[in-house]
Protein backbone atom coordinates (compact mmCIF):
# COMPACT_ATOMS: atom_id res chain seq x y z
CA UNK A 1 0.00 0.00 0.00
CA UNK A 2 2.73 2.44 0.92
CA UNK A 3 4.66 1.57 -2.21
CA UNK A 4 1.66 2.35 -4.34
CA UNK A 5 1.10 5.59 -2.41
CA UNK A 6 4.69 6.58 -3.23
CA UNK A 7 4.29 5.62 -6.86
CA UNK A 8 1.00 7.45 -7.17
CA UNK A 9 2.49 10.57 -5.58
CA UNK A 10 5.45 10.41 -7.92
CA UNK A 11 3.09 10.07 -10.88
CA UNK A 12 1.22 13.25 -9.98
CA UNK A 13 -1.68 12.03 -7.81
CA UNK A 14 -2.15 14.98 -5.41
CA UNK A 15 -4.35 13.07 -3.01
CA UNK A 16 -1.69 10.35 -2.71
CA UNK A 17 0.97 13.03 -2.19
CA UNK A 18 -1.09 14.61 0.59
CA UNK A 19 -1.64 11.26 2.30
CA UNK A 20 2.00 10.39 1.99
CA UNK A 21 3.03 13.71 3.54
CA UNK A 22 0.86 12.82 6.53
CA UNK A 23 2.68 9.49 6.86
CA UNK A 24 6.03 11.21 6.62
CA UNK A 25 5.00 13.91 9.08
CA UNK A 26 3.84 11.30 11.57
CA UNK A 27 7.01 9.27 11.01
CA UNK A 28 5.14 6.07 10.37
CA UNK A 29 6.68 2.90 9.01
CA UNK A 30 4.69 3.47 5.81
CA UNK A 31 6.21 6.94 5.46
CA UNK A 32 9.73 5.61 5.94
CA UNK A 33 9.10 2.83 3.43
CA UNK A 34 7.87 5.36 0.86
CA UNK A 35 10.96 7.50 1.35
CA UNK A 36 13.10 4.52 0.46
CA UNK A 37 11.45 4.60 -2.95
CA UNK A 38 11.27 8.37 -3.39
CA UNK A 39 14.56 9.61 -1.97
CA UNK A 40 16.63 8.34 -4.91
CA UNK A 41 14.35 10.27 -7.30
CA UNK A 42 14.60 13.48 -5.27
CA UNK A 43 17.40 16.01 -5.48
CA UNK A 44 16.34 17.91 -8.57
CA UNK A 45 14.26 20.67 -7.02
CA UNK A 46 15.54 24.05 -5.88
CA UNK A 47 14.81 24.22 -2.14
CA UNK A 48 14.39 27.81 -1.05
CA UNK A 49 14.21 28.51 2.67
CA UNK A 50 12.27 31.62 3.62
CA UNK A 51 12.71 32.84 7.16
CA UNK A 52 12.33 36.00 9.20
CA UNK A 53 10.44 37.53 12.08
CA UNK A 54 6.69 36.95 12.62
CA UNK A 55 4.74 39.40 10.50
CA UNK A 56 7.65 40.29 8.23
CA UNK A 57 5.65 39.05 5.26
CA UNK A 58 7.11 35.62 4.58
CA UNK A 59 3.81 34.00 3.52
CA UNK A 60 2.77 36.92 1.35
CA UNK A 61 6.20 36.92 -0.25
CA UNK A 62 6.07 33.17 -0.91
CA UNK A 63 2.62 33.62 -2.47
CA UNK A 64 3.95 36.44 -4.68
CA UNK A 65 7.01 34.43 -5.75
CA UNK A 66 4.76 31.46 -6.47
CA UNK A 67 2.59 33.64 -8.69
CA UNK A 68 5.67 34.88 -10.53
CA UNK A 69 6.98 31.33 -11.07
CA UNK A 70 3.57 30.19 -12.30
CA UNK A 71 3.65 32.89 -15.02
CA UNK A 72 6.53 30.89 -16.48
CA UNK A 73 4.58 27.65 -16.06
CA UNK A 74 6.81 26.27 -13.33
CA UNK A 75 5.50 23.89 -10.66
CA UNK A 76 5.74 25.11 -7.09
CA UNK A 77 5.37 23.41 -3.72
CA UNK A 78 5.27 25.17 -0.38
CA UNK A 79 5.86 23.85 3.11
CA UNK A 80 4.69 26.44 5.63
CA UNK A 81 5.59 25.80 9.24
CA UNK A 82 3.88 27.39 12.23
CA UNK A 83 4.58 26.72 15.90
CA UNK A 84 2.85 24.10 18.03
CA UNK A 85 1.71 25.02 21.49
CA UNK A 86 4.20 23.77 24.06
CA UNK A 87 1.26 23.41 26.45
CA UNK A 88 -1.53 21.70 24.51
CA UNK A 89 0.26 20.50 21.38
CA UNK A 90 -2.31 22.35 19.31
CA UNK A 91 -1.43 24.81 16.56
CA UNK A 92 -2.86 27.48 14.33
CA UNK A 93 -1.51 27.02 10.84
CA UNK A 94 -2.37 30.31 9.22
CA UNK A 95 0.10 30.76 6.38
CA UNK A 96 -2.39 29.49 3.80
CA UNK A 97 -4.48 32.61 4.36
CA UNK A 98 -1.95 34.56 2.27
CA UNK A 99 -1.61 31.83 -0.35
CA UNK A 100 -5.20 30.76 -1.01
CA UNK A 101 -5.13 32.51 -4.38
CA UNK A 102 -3.14 29.47 -5.56
CA UNK A 103 -5.37 26.90 -3.83
CA UNK A 104 -7.08 25.59 -6.93
CA UNK A 105 -3.99 25.59 -9.14
CA UNK A 106 -3.02 21.95 -9.71
CA UNK A 107 0.60 22.88 -10.24
CA UNK A 108 0.90 24.52 -6.82
CA UNK A 109 0.85 22.35 -3.72
CA UNK A 110 0.76 24.01 -0.31
CA UNK A 111 1.19 22.07 2.88
CA UNK A 112 1.14 23.47 6.41
CA UNK A 113 3.14 21.78 9.14
CA UNK A 114 3.10 22.31 12.87
CA UNK A 115 6.53 22.39 14.49
CA UNK A 116 5.43 19.75 17.04
CA UNK A 117 8.05 20.63 19.59
CA UNK A 118 10.94 20.86 17.16
CA UNK A 119 12.99 23.98 17.73
CA UNK A 120 15.04 25.73 15.08
CA UNK A 121 12.15 27.05 13.00
CA UNK A 122 11.24 23.85 11.16
CA UNK A 123 9.31 20.67 11.92
CA UNK A 124 11.25 17.45 12.43
CA UNK A 125 10.05 15.95 9.14
CA UNK A 126 10.29 19.07 6.98
CA UNK A 127 13.26 17.80 4.96
CA UNK A 128 11.62 14.45 4.33
CA UNK A 129 8.42 16.20 3.26
CA UNK A 130 10.42 18.36 0.85
CA UNK A 131 12.05 15.24 -0.59
CA UNK A 132 8.61 13.75 -1.24
CA UNK A 133 7.51 16.92 -3.04
CA UNK A 134 10.77 16.98 -4.96
CA UNK A 135 10.28 13.36 -6.08
CA UNK A 136 6.71 14.25 -7.05
CA UNK A 137 8.05 16.62 -9.66
CA UNK A 138 7.89 20.07 -8.10
CA UNK A 139 10.80 22.09 -9.40
CA UNK A 140 10.69 24.96 -6.94
CA UNK A 141 10.00 24.28 -3.28
CA UNK A 142 9.61 27.03 -0.70
CA UNK A 143 10.16 26.12 2.93
CA UNK A 144 8.70 28.85 5.08
CA UNK A 145 9.87 28.67 8.68
CA UNK A 146 7.98 29.68 11.77
CA UNK A 147 8.40 33.34 12.57
CA UNK A 148 11.98 33.43 13.76
CA UNK A 149 14.05 35.57 16.06
CA UNK A 150 17.77 35.89 15.72
CA UNK A 151 19.15 32.41 15.97
CA UNK A 152 16.88 29.89 14.22
CA UNK A 153 19.32 29.06 11.47
CA UNK A 154 18.39 25.43 10.85
CA UNK A 155 16.69 26.20 7.54
CA UNK A 156 20.02 27.26 6.05
CA UNK A 157 21.39 23.77 6.59
CA UNK A 158 18.60 22.12 4.63
CA UNK A 159 17.77 24.68 1.92
CA UNK A 160 19.78 25.28 -1.24
CA UNK A 161 19.15 29.00 -0.95
CA UNK A 162 18.15 30.89 2.17
CA UNK A 163 16.11 34.09 2.05
CA UNK A 164 15.85 36.17 5.23
CA UNK A 165 12.90 38.53 5.19
CA UNK A 166 13.11 41.77 7.14
CA UNK A 167 10.63 44.57 7.50
CA UNK A 168 11.71 48.20 7.28
CA UNK A 169 11.30 48.58 11.05
CA UNK A 170 14.01 46.05 11.77
CA UNK A 171 16.10 48.34 13.95
CA UNK A 172 19.42 50.06 13.49
CA UNK A 173 22.79 48.94 12.22
CA UNK A 174 23.62 47.14 15.44
CA UNK A 175 20.85 44.65 14.62
CA UNK A 176 22.50 44.08 11.25
CA UNK A 177 25.90 43.21 12.72
CA UNK A 178 24.61 40.74 15.31
CA UNK A 179 25.54 37.13 14.77
CA UNK A 180 22.91 34.59 13.78
CA UNK A 181 20.16 34.60 11.23
CA UNK A 182 21.52 37.33 8.95
CA UNK A 183 24.83 35.48 8.66
CA UNK A 184 23.25 32.47 6.98
CA UNK A 185 21.25 34.44 4.41
CA UNK A 186 22.03 34.14 0.73
CA UNK A 187 19.56 36.92 0.07
CA UNK A 188 18.24 39.43 2.59
CA UNK A 189 14.92 40.89 1.48
CA UNK A 190 13.68 44.13 2.94
CA UNK A 191 9.99 43.51 2.41
CA UNK A 192 7.21 46.11 2.60
CA UNK A 193 9.32 48.47 0.50
CA UNK A 194 6.14 50.49 -0.01
CA UNK A 195 6.57 51.69 3.56
CA UNK A 196 8.74 54.55 4.69
CA UNK A 197 12.23 53.68 5.87
CA UNK A 198 12.68 50.68 3.59
CA UNK A 199 15.44 52.26 1.48
CA UNK A 200 17.30 53.28 4.59
CA UNK A 201 16.99 49.82 6.14
CA UNK A 202 18.32 48.25 2.95
CA UNK A 203 21.23 50.70 2.80
CA UNK A 204 22.14 49.95 6.41
CA UNK A 205 21.98 46.22 5.84
CA UNK A 206 24.09 46.50 2.71
CA UNK A 207 26.67 48.59 4.49
CA UNK A 208 26.95 46.21 7.41
CA UNK A 209 26.56 42.84 5.70
CA UNK A 210 28.82 43.35 2.74
CA UNK A 211 31.85 44.64 4.61
CA UNK A 212 34.74 42.33 5.14
CA UNK A 213 35.25 41.02 1.61
CA UNK A 214 38.98 41.64 1.88
CA UNK A 215 39.02 40.02 5.30
CA UNK A 216 37.46 36.99 3.59
CA UNK A 217 40.40 36.69 1.26
CA UNK A 218 42.83 37.01 4.14
CA UNK A 219 41.00 34.45 6.23
CA UNK A 220 42.08 31.46 4.21
CA UNK A 221 40.30 28.34 5.40
CA UNK A 222 38.66 29.92 8.41
CA UNK A 223 34.84 29.73 8.13
CA UNK A 224 33.34 33.04 7.07
CA UNK A 225 29.74 34.21 7.16
CA UNK A 226 28.03 34.57 3.79
CA UNK A 227 27.88 37.92 2.00
CA UNK A 228 24.21 38.14 1.13
CA UNK A 229 22.56 40.20 -1.58
CA UNK A 230 20.24 42.80 -0.08
CA UNK A 231 17.08 43.36 -2.09
CA UNK A 232 14.03 45.58 -1.72
CA UNK A 233 10.65 44.11 -2.36
CA UNK A 234 6.96 44.64 -1.70
CA UNK A 235 5.11 41.35 -1.63
CA UNK A 236 1.88 43.33 -1.37
CA UNK A 237 2.29 45.42 -4.53
CA UNK A 238 4.52 42.94 -6.33
CA UNK A 239 7.33 45.44 -6.76
CA UNK A 240 10.70 43.70 -6.75
CA UNK A 241 9.19 40.21 -6.85
CA UNK A 242 10.30 39.34 -10.43
CA UNK A 243 13.80 40.56 -9.55
CA UNK A 244 13.84 38.40 -6.43
CA UNK A 245 12.77 35.29 -8.33
CA UNK A 246 15.43 36.04 -10.94
CA UNK A 247 18.02 36.33 -8.16
CA UNK A 248 16.91 32.96 -6.77
CA UNK A 249 17.23 31.43 -10.23
CA UNK A 250 20.73 32.89 -10.62
CA UNK A 251 21.68 31.32 -7.29
CA UNK A 252 20.35 27.99 -8.46
CA UNK A 253 22.14 28.26 -11.79
CA UNK A 254 25.39 29.14 -10.05
CA UNK A 255 24.90 26.23 -7.68
CA UNK A 256 24.38 23.72 -10.44
CA UNK A 257 27.40 24.93 -12.40
CA UNK A 258 29.58 25.19 -9.29
CA UNK A 259 32.30 22.63 -8.92
CA UNK A 260 31.31 19.20 -7.69
CA UNK A 261 33.20 19.96 -4.48
CA UNK A 262 30.97 22.88 -3.52
CA UNK A 263 27.82 20.93 -4.38
CA UNK A 264 28.97 17.92 -2.39
CA UNK A 265 29.76 20.08 0.63
CA UNK A 266 26.23 21.49 0.64
CA UNK A 267 24.71 18.05 0.10
CA UNK A 268 26.80 16.61 2.92
CA UNK A 269 25.73 19.40 5.24
CA UNK A 270 22.09 18.68 4.46
CA UNK A 271 22.61 14.94 4.92
CA UNK A 272 24.19 15.57 8.29
CA UNK A 273 21.33 17.83 9.40
CA UNK A 274 18.76 15.25 8.38
CA UNK A 275 20.49 12.27 9.90
CA UNK A 276 21.21 13.98 13.19
CA UNK A 277 17.54 14.89 13.43
CA UNK A 278 16.50 11.30 12.77
CA UNK A 279 19.07 10.03 15.26
CA UNK A 280 17.69 12.17 18.06
CA UNK A 281 14.18 11.06 17.17
CA UNK A 282 15.24 7.39 17.24
CA UNK A 283 16.96 7.92 20.58
CA UNK A 284 13.82 9.56 21.99
CA UNK A 285 11.63 6.77 20.61
CA UNK A 286 14.01 4.14 21.98
CA UNK A 287 13.90 5.66 25.42
CA UNK A 288 10.12 5.89 25.29
CA UNK A 289 9.99 2.12 24.81
CA UNK A 290 8.07 0.65 27.80
CA UNK A 291 10.68 -2.10 28.08
CA UNK A 292 13.21 0.54 29.11
CA UNK A 293 10.86 2.59 31.24
CA UNK A 294 12.05 1.40 34.63
CA UNK A 295 15.75 1.97 33.94
CA UNK A 296 15.05 5.30 32.25
CA UNK A 297 12.88 6.59 35.08
CA UNK A 298 15.43 5.50 37.67
CA UNK A 299 18.16 7.41 35.82
CA UNK A 300 16.03 10.55 35.54
CA UNK A 301 15.17 10.32 39.24
CA UNK A 302 18.83 9.96 40.14
CA UNK A 303 19.64 13.20 38.28
CA UNK A 304 16.67 14.99 39.82
CA UNK A 305 17.91 13.96 43.26
CA UNK A 306 21.47 15.08 42.37
CA UNK A 307 22.80 11.58 42.94
CA UNK A 308 24.44 11.46 39.52
CA UNK A 309 25.25 14.21 37.03
CA UNK A 310 23.30 14.57 33.77
CA UNK A 311 26.31 13.65 31.60
CA UNK A 312 26.75 10.30 33.33
CA UNK A 313 22.99 9.81 33.04
CA UNK A 314 23.06 10.46 29.30
CA UNK A 315 25.89 7.95 28.85
CA UNK A 316 23.91 5.42 30.87
CA UNK A 317 20.82 5.94 28.73
CA UNK A 318 22.81 5.59 25.53
CA UNK A 319 24.25 2.31 26.82
CA UNK A 320 20.71 1.25 27.67
CA UNK A 321 19.64 1.84 24.06
CA UNK A 322 22.29 -0.56 22.87
CA UNK A 323 20.56 -3.34 24.78
CA UNK A 324 17.19 -4.74 23.81
CA UNK A 325 14.33 -4.85 26.28
CA UNK A 326 16.33 -5.42 29.44
CA UNK A 327 14.28 -2.78 31.27
Amino acid sequence: MSASLAERARDGDRRALARLLTEVENRTAAGEAALKILYPVAGRAHLVGVTGAPGSGKSTLVAALTGEARKAGRTVAVIAIDPSSPITGGAILGDRVRMQIHATDDDVFIRSMASRGHSGGLAASTVAAAAVMDASGFGLIFIETVGTGQSEVEVAAIADTTVVVQSPEMGDEVQAIKAGLLEVADIVVVNKSDRPGADRAAAQLRAMLTVGASADRAAGDRPRPKRPDVMLCSALTGKGVPELLAALDRREAARSTAGAGARDAAALKRAEAQISGILSQRVAAGLADPARAAARDATLAAVAAHEIDPFTAADRLLALLGRRGEG
Binding site: M1, S2, L5, R14, R15, A18, R19, L21, T22, E23, N26, R27, T28, A29, A30, S84, S85, T88, G89, G90, A91, I92, L93, G94, R96, V97, Q100, A103, T104, F109, I110, R111, S112, A114, R116, Q281, A284, A285, A288
Partner: protein, 138 residues
Amino acid sequence: MSDATARPIKVLIAKPGLDGHDRGAKVLARGLRDEGFEVIYTGLRQTPEMVVSAALQEDVDVVGLSILSGAHMTLLPKICAGLREKGMDDVLVTAGGIIPDDDIAALEQAGVSRVFGPGTTIREVADFIRTSVKRREV
Protein backbone atom coordinates in the same frame (compact mmCIF):
# COMPACT_ATOMS: atom_id res chain seq x y z
CA MET B 1 5.23 9.23 18.67
CA SER B 2 4.69 6.14 16.62
CA ASP B 3 1.34 5.81 18.38
CA ALA B 4 -1.25 6.84 15.79
CA THR B 5 -3.67 8.06 18.45
CA ALA B 6 -1.07 10.48 19.80
CA ARG B 7 -0.86 12.60 16.69
CA PRO B 8 -2.97 15.75 16.69
CA ILE B 9 -6.25 15.84 14.80
CA LYS B 10 -6.03 18.21 11.82
CA VAL B 11 -8.93 20.56 11.27
CA LEU B 12 -9.48 22.98 8.40
CA ILE B 13 -11.50 26.04 9.37
CA ALA B 14 -12.84 27.85 6.33
CA LYS B 15 -15.30 30.61 5.60
CA PRO B 16 -17.04 29.89 2.30
CA GLY B 17 -19.00 32.65 0.66
CA LEU B 18 -19.04 36.37 0.83
CA ASP B 19 -19.82 37.44 4.39
CA GLY B 20 -16.92 39.04 6.21
CA HIS B 21 -17.75 37.95 9.73
CA ASP B 22 -14.81 35.84 10.71
CA ARG B 23 -14.68 36.47 14.45
CA GLY B 24 -16.51 33.22 15.16
CA ALA B 25 -14.21 31.20 12.92
CA LYS B 26 -11.14 32.73 14.54
CA VAL B 27 -12.42 32.16 18.06
CA LEU B 28 -13.18 28.54 17.19
CA ALA B 29 -9.76 28.10 15.58
CA ARG B 30 -8.11 29.47 18.68
CA GLY B 31 -10.30 27.34 20.97
CA LEU B 32 -9.55 24.15 19.05
CA ARG B 33 -5.86 24.98 19.21
CA ASP B 34 -6.21 25.05 22.99
CA GLU B 35 -7.94 21.67 22.78
CA GLY B 36 -4.79 20.29 21.15
CA PHE B 37 -5.90 20.25 17.51
CA GLU B 38 -3.79 21.40 14.59
CA VAL B 39 -5.99 24.01 12.97
CA ILE B 40 -5.45 25.24 9.44
CA TYR B 41 -7.17 28.55 8.92
CA THR B 42 -7.81 29.61 5.33
CA GLY B 43 -9.45 32.98 5.82
CA LEU B 44 -12.41 34.68 4.24
CA ARG B 45 -14.30 34.38 0.97
CA GLN B 46 -13.43 30.85 -0.01
CA THR B 47 -15.06 29.18 -2.99
CA PRO B 48 -16.12 25.54 -2.54
CA GLU B 49 -13.25 24.58 -4.86
CA MET B 50 -10.70 26.39 -2.69
CA VAL B 51 -12.00 24.68 0.45
CA VAL B 52 -11.90 21.23 -1.16
CA SER B 53 -8.43 21.80 -2.54
CA ALA B 54 -7.07 23.03 0.80
CA ALA B 55 -8.62 20.03 2.57
CA LEU B 56 -7.00 17.71 0.05
CA GLN B 57 -3.52 19.24 0.17
CA GLU B 58 -3.51 19.45 3.95
CA ASP B 59 -4.99 15.94 4.31
CA VAL B 60 -7.20 17.07 7.15
CA ASP B 61 -9.42 14.90 9.33
CA VAL B 62 -12.12 17.55 9.72
CA VAL B 63 -13.49 20.46 7.68
CA GLY B 64 -15.27 23.10 9.79
CA LEU B 65 -17.27 25.63 7.79
CA SER B 66 -18.41 28.95 9.19
CA ILE B 67 -21.11 30.73 7.26
CA LEU B 68 -23.35 33.64 8.16
CA SER B 69 -24.40 34.87 4.75
CA GLY B 70 -27.42 32.65 4.19
CA ALA B 71 -25.82 30.88 1.24
CA HIS B 72 -25.29 27.66 3.19
CA MET B 73 -27.81 25.62 1.19
CA THR B 74 -25.83 26.35 -1.97
CA LEU B 75 -22.24 26.29 -0.76
CA LEU B 76 -22.12 23.54 1.86
CA PRO B 77 -23.55 20.73 -0.32
CA LYS B 78 -21.09 21.77 -3.05
CA ILE B 79 -18.20 21.39 -0.65
CA CYS B 80 -19.44 17.99 0.56
CA ALA B 81 -19.85 16.81 -3.03
CA GLY B 82 -16.41 18.14 -3.93
CA LEU B 83 -14.80 16.25 -1.06
CA ARG B 84 -16.55 13.02 -2.09
CA GLU B 85 -15.50 13.53 -5.68
CA LYS B 86 -11.86 13.75 -4.56
CA GLY B 87 -12.16 10.57 -2.53
CA MET B 88 -12.33 12.30 0.80
CA ASP B 89 -15.60 10.78 2.01
CA ASP B 90 -13.91 9.95 5.31
CA VAL B 91 -13.42 13.63 6.18
CA LEU B 92 -15.78 14.86 8.88
CA VAL B 93 -17.66 18.02 7.83
CA THR B 94 -19.19 20.33 10.43
CA ALA B 95 -20.80 23.73 10.03
CA GLY B 96 -21.50 26.70 12.23
CA GLY B 97 -22.80 30.23 11.99
CA ILE B 98 -26.34 31.35 11.30
CA ILE B 99 -28.17 28.35 9.90
CA PRO B 100 -31.95 27.98 10.43
CA ASP B 101 -33.09 24.76 12.12
CA ASP B 102 -35.29 23.98 9.14
CA ASP B 103 -32.22 23.63 6.90
CA ILE B 104 -30.29 21.26 9.12
CA ALA B 105 -31.87 18.02 7.93
CA ALA B 106 -31.13 18.84 4.31
CA LEU B 107 -27.53 19.76 5.13
CA GLU B 108 -27.06 16.51 7.03
CA GLN B 109 -28.49 14.71 4.05
CA ALA B 110 -25.87 16.46 1.90
CA GLY B 111 -23.02 15.24 4.10
CA VAL B 112 -22.63 17.74 6.95
CA SER B 113 -22.25 15.67 10.12
CA ARG B 114 -23.27 18.34 12.57
CA VAL B 115 -24.49 21.93 12.48
CA PHE B 116 -23.48 23.99 15.48
CA GLY B 117 -25.57 27.05 16.23
CA PRO B 118 -24.93 30.18 18.28
CA GLY B 119 -24.23 29.40 21.93
CA THR B 120 -22.28 26.22 21.20
CA THR B 121 -19.23 25.89 23.44
CA ILE B 122 -15.77 25.12 22.12
CA ARG B 123 -15.76 22.04 24.34
CA GLU B 124 -18.90 20.68 22.62
CA VAL B 125 -17.29 21.08 19.21
CA ALA B 126 -14.02 19.51 20.37
CA ASP B 127 -15.79 16.57 21.99
CA PHE B 128 -17.90 15.99 18.90
CA ILE B 129 -14.82 16.00 16.70
CA ARG B 130 -12.91 13.65 18.97
CA THR B 131 -15.68 11.10 19.08
CA SER B 132 -16.67 11.33 15.41
CA VAL B 133 -13.43 11.69 13.51
CA LYS B 134 -12.30 8.68 11.55
CA ARG B 135 -8.63 8.01 12.07
CA ARG B 136 -7.51 6.63 8.79
CA GLU B 137 -5.58 3.45 8.35
CA VAL B 138 -2.82 3.22 5.82
